[in-house]
């Protein structure tokens, strides 16, 4: 047993080493053409706490950069989670022209300033690249009688009239992505939930396993372990297309087998940005360096495995395309949050 795991690891390492040589050779000319390189360690701001989705991703990137020697200087993750991430974003906003600072974003890039009135906007920073989009899935306890989103919504609706009996929906944080999805679900179905905010996605999944809540809108990676163990059941994914991964995750299902919510008659969709930004006032050369860096990161086997484990949508964007996407998504959040009454009082 042990030998097996060791040999698997070694194979992985070998493959990693080979591919990194390949990458280094392929990448050398572009690196020279870009001209700019970090001259000191790069601070990687994480506007969220340790152990969360953004934190995991940032630390994975740090590990990949070290392992494949993608950058001469090191990448140092720093958690600045205060005020739902506002602390981290403000630190980047204030570091005008500093090319040795990057920040990984999640939806709090939009939700935090809207919900708290803290003065910053994504336009105060320089967009670098979209790394991936994170999905949301509607989960229920595997022992609950609901096999489809339709069953579940019908039951939720009949319980909605009496507040203490309302279905409890668990999620991470308040007035953030999970609650926006929940409100979206309410709007689309005319049902009502009691939204319960917790501090992390892992805690939400366990509360659901322990039947303290009726459902959750966890990201795939937060709930996958419990799903595989047969404790949770996915009902639908909040996106307009199914997730592409066809490898079986449980004995009978792959991510691809989870229907979209629209298919199940609950027309709601929402995806979350996992992207990289820099402080304002940096040069195009500096931005290109990081765009290249993340392109290389995306080619590594570790990153690919992480994407598949977490069923991420692997869209990649940079430059104008990315800026346009962010602009559009910000407008979307403004509308959603306005309808839900989440905007900060002026």
């Amino acid at each position: 047993m042990l030998l097996k795991s060791l040999s698997v690891f070694k194979k992985g390492a070998l493959f990693g080493a080979v591919s990194s040589i390949g990458l280094a050779m392929g990448a050398a000319p572009t690196a020279m053409a870009a001209g700019w390189e970090p001259t000191k360690p790069v601070e990687f701001v994480i506007p969220a706490g340790t152990g969360g989705g953004a934190d995991q991703m940032a630390r994975l990137i740090q590990g990949i950069v070290v392992k494949h020697n993608l950058m001469k200087q090191s990448l140092i993750p720093v958690n600045k989670s205060g005020g739902a991430g506002a602390e981290g974003f403000l630190a980047v906003k204030d570091a005008k022209g500093d090319p040795h600072k990057i920040v990984i974003t999640l939806s709090n890039l939009f939700t935090t300033p809207l919900a708290t009135g803290v003065p910053f906007n994504w336009k105060d920073m320089t967009p670098v690249a979209m790394l991936a989009l994170d999905q949301f899935v509607l989960w229920v306890n595997a022992e609950s009688p609901y096999k489809t989103a339709k069953d579940y919504i019908a039951a939720a609706k009949s319980a909605a009239a009496d507040p203490p009996k309302r279905f409890k929906m668990g999620g991470t944080g308040s007035k953030q992505e999970d609650q926006i999805v929940t409100v979206g679900l309410e709007k689309a179905t005319g049902s009502k939930f009691t939204y319960l905010p917790f501090k992390g996605g892992g805690a939400v999944a366990v509360q659901l396993v322990g039947k303290h809540i009726e459902s959750s809108v966890n990201n795939p990676i937060e709930a996958v372990a419990q799903w595989r163990a047969g404790k949770l059941r996915p009902l639908c994914v909040f996106d307009d297309t199914r997730m592409p991964y066809k490898t079986k995750v449980t004995s009978s299902m792959a991510w691809n087998d989870i229907p979209t919510c629209t298919e199940s008659g609950v027309p709601t969709d929402y995806v979350m940005l996992r992207g990289i930004f820099m402080p304002p006032g940096v040069t195009q050369e500096q931005v290109s360096f990081y765009v290249d860096l993340f392109k290389k990161v995306r080619e590594t086997p570790e990153w690919k495995k992480f994407m598949e484990d977490g069923a991420f949508n692997q869209s990649f964007m940079s430059g104008k395309e990315f800026a346009a996407w962010v602009e559009k998504t910000e407008g979307l959040h403004r509308n959603l949050m306005k309808e839900a009454g989440f905007l900060a009082k002026k």
Binding site: K40, P41, E43, I76, V78, P163
Partner: protein, 175 residues
């Protein structure tokens, strides 16, 4: 060392326990009032689904105000025999300030020039001034400590420490 040159003037109370009790209680009372007022603005009621954001802080502020008011009254009305006891004597205060004031300056220097330079200077000054060590001993230890801290935090653990807002004396190292 400093203990030997304590004079009778140093035994004088700078401030009495009672006066200090009153000052502290008033400061805490004001603090409690600010907390309560700021929380009231947030909404300090009990909504249908439980307490609002300001509910607990509001009552916490109120309780702080009440309890410090009681302490204040006790201090004002007390007839205890040690009512005139000294909170701090002059000689003691001198000693305390001889640590506190350099510490304040130290933090200010950290703010401007970063933690490493400030720490080296601070250790040297403390040793030479209060410990009466030879200046080179102080300086040597100060520099050694700063270099060790630098190696440990910046290089091995990769925790960037404060570099100074006015000027970073370590910019030559690339960190």
């Amino acid at each position: 060392m400093t203990n030997t040159d304590i004079t009778s003037a140093d035994k004088h109370a700078v401030i009495g326990v009672r006066a200090m009790e009153i000052i502290v209680a008033v400061v805490i009372l004001a603090f409690g009032a600010v907390i309560a007022w700021a929380s009231y603005d947030l909404g300090a009621g009990w909504a249908d689904d439980g307490p609002q954001a300001g509910y607990f802080p509001f009552y916490i502020g109120v309780i702080i105000a009440i309890s410090s008011f009681v302490t204040l009254m006790q201090a004002l009305l007390t007839r205890a025999p040690d009512v005139g006891a000294a909170f701090v004597e002059r000689g003691q205060l001198k000693l305390v300030l001889s640590v506190l004031v350099p510490a304040l300056v130290y933090v200010l220097v950290i703010q401007w020039f970063g933690i490493y330079l400030a720490s080296a200077i601070y250790i040297a000054v403390f040793m030479v001034w209060l410990g009466k060590y030879a200046w080179w001993k102080g300086l040597l230890l100060g520099v050694i400590v700063s270099v060790c801290v630098f190696m440990m935090f910046e290089v091995w653990f990769q925790v960037p420490l404060h570099k100074g807002t006015l000027y970073n004396p370590l910019s030559f190292t690339g960190y």
